[in-house]
């Protein structure tokens, strides 16, 4: 089953407001999503929050597609308490690109973006505290990138801090 176009009032509003910034409004298994240009993501989140009542930022995450020119897909999952609806906002960004932070729109984006940075190495421009969150600050490498093998680790860090050759 492939994604079908998402019809309705909201996608129409989004297309009218953001025009060519929006690539695709679609549904997969009843779940709606919007694909947008990276620069438009924060204005879209703002629009959805203020004018469409999507006031709850559920999650921010990324997916790594190393073979694509713009290898990371950023995914923002939103929910509206008033409408009882979910929508996902997605955008593709290249390695090294610095997408703007969502913290001014949703305070809760802070840790979620830090985790994306920690795992994928995507830096968010304007983030108040862009540091690793789960891994040690001196750790090298970004584990959720596809080239990072499941048994790989930062050998130097493990040796220096744990005094062992390998954590495996």
């Amino acid at each position: 089953m492939a994604a079908t176009p998402w019809e309705g009032e909201l996608p129409a509003q989004l297309k009218e407001r953001f025009g060519s910034e929006i690539g695709e409004c679609a549904s997969y298994l009843g779940q709606n999503f919007v694909v947008a240009r990276p620069d438009a993501v924060i204005p879209i989140l703002e629009f959805l929050k203020l004018e469409a009542d999507f006031d709850y930022l559920v999650d921010i995450t990324a997916v790594d597609y190393p073979n694509r020119a713009e290898r990371f897909e950023l995914v923002y999952i939103l929910y509206s308490y008033g409408r009882n609806e979910r929508v996902r906002v997605k955008s593709m960004i290249a390695d090294g690109a610095k997408p703007p932070t969502a913290v001014p729109v949703h305070t809760g984006a802070n840790w979620l973006e830090r985790e994306v940075f920690d795992m994928f190495g995507i830096e968010f421009a304007g983030h108040p505290d862009m540091r690793r969150i789960l891994l040690p600050e001196e750790w090298e490498g970004f584990p959720l990138r596809k080239e990072y093998s499941i048994i790989k680790q930062d050998d130097r860090w493990v040796k220096e801090n744990l005094g062992i050759e390998s954590g495996q």
């Binding site: 559920v58 809760g108 959720l144």
Partner: protein, 369 residues
């Protein structure tokens, strides 16, 4: 008179944890103190990071299922339910009715077990020693049901994608009914110990207030959100596993303080009993579902979430039409809720930090994954 006072009042930085009993695991909180007043905090987390999401990408859909139990290990059944529902959604299948009702019973029992562990340790943190013994006594009865059902007490792996692994054992209904019968008066007993206890009230009322708007701002869900007066529960808002068939209330608070969160969770245990009683009275006969031998969902992605004891637990799964998830993201309620800690403790007293960590009901296995 000396030129300077004997003691300069400078800001004190105090380190709490990671080895600290009241942080319920390995949470490190760095506190900035002005006397007893908290001026700011920083959470250092990740001590239990095991790379669950990376493991997910390197296991088949079936192989990964037991791993989810190790995130929120006091509510393993809920984790398993969320995972199974997410993969079922991806496959566009549904568990048969008998499996769904059984899932509801076990998940609600697990909610009770999780809340009991919270209550016991939260009260212990604040200095009430008795409740923890009572809570663990009753929690034991829930764990016995799990053990009889699937052989495990904590990391149960009770469900399978597409249904259940095991048929219900003989005497399951009776044991669950007997538990409900026994448990309801116990909740009243806990309340007698605590609800109007002057010390308990003094330590909890007005402490760690988080308003409904602040909860939404941070994405905080679960009992913390409900205690702030927002009547929102995924079991009602977007029912799954047939929750729409059951008659139950969503308890809410008014002030969003630690005391209201306590009352909300107490009432949630009663409501869980209510759901279990309805479910156990009408377990349908029929198949319990079968896990497909090979799980190879079509290319696509879904986000599925459930109301776990701690809040919204979500799974975002991306499939590339292979037997392993291309990407598996867990949206953990504890991680998101913990972010609000700083807002809740700022301006309060250092002794309240312990109460507020307790009331957030975090499990570090889930925060760190």
């Amino acid at each position: 008179m000396p030129e300077t006072t004997f003691l300069d009042s400078t800001e004190l930085v105090l380190n709490m944890g990671p080895q600290h009993p009241s942080t319920h695991g390995v949470l490190r909180v760095i506190l900035k103190l002005d006397g007893e007043k908290v001026n700011g905090t920083e959470c250092v987390i990740g001590y239990l990071h095991r790379g669950v999401e990376k493991i997910g990408e390197n296991r088949t859909y079936q192989q990964f299922a037991p791993y989810v139990d190790r995130m929120d290990y006091v509510a393993a059944v809920s984790n398993g339910l969320g995972y199974c529902l997410a993969i079922e959604k991806l496959l566009n299948i549904e568990a048969p009715p008998r499996a769904q009702v059984t899932r509801v019973i076990l998940t609600e029992l697990n909610r009770i077990a999780s809340h009991l562990l919270w209550l016991g340790t939260h009260a212990l943190d604040i200095g009430a020693i008795t409740p923890v013994f009572y809570c663990f006594r009753e929690r034991e009865e829930v764990l016995k049901i799990f053990e009889n059902y699937c052989g495990a007490r904590l990391t149960t792996h009770a469900f399978r994608i597409g249904g259940l692994q095991y048929e219900l054992y003989d005497g399951f209904e009776e044991q669950v009914k007997a538990f409900c019968e026994m448990f309801l008066p116990k909740v009243d007993e806990y309340e007698e110990l605590l609800t109007h206890n002057r010390i308990w009230v003094a330590r909890l009322k007005g402490v760690g207030i988080l308003s409904g708007d602040e909860c939404k701002e941070f994405g905080v869900t679960g009992p913390v959100l409900r205690a702030a007066g927002v009547k929102w529960d995924l079991r009602k808002a977007q029912p799954y596993s047939g929750y729409e068939q059951y008659d139950f209330e969503i308890p809410t608070g008014e002030n969003g303080d630690t005391y209201d969160r306590y009352l909300v969770r107490m009432e949630e245990m009663r409501q869980s009993v209510r759901i279990i009683r309805q479910a156990v009275a009408k377990i349908p006969t029929g198949p319990i579902g079968k896990t497909p031998k090979v799980i190879k969902p079509a290319t696509g992605e879904v986000y599925v979430s459930i109301e776990a004891p701690k809040g919204e637990l979500g799974y975002f799964v991306v499939s590339d039409n292979s037997t392993q998830p291309y990407r598996l993201r867990v949206r953990p309620p504890s991680f998101v809720n913990l972010q609000a800690l700083d807002r809740m403790v700022r301006g309060g007293l250092v002794a309240d930090v312990v109460a507020i960590i307790g009331t957030l009901d975090i499990v570090l296995g889930e925060v760190d994954r």
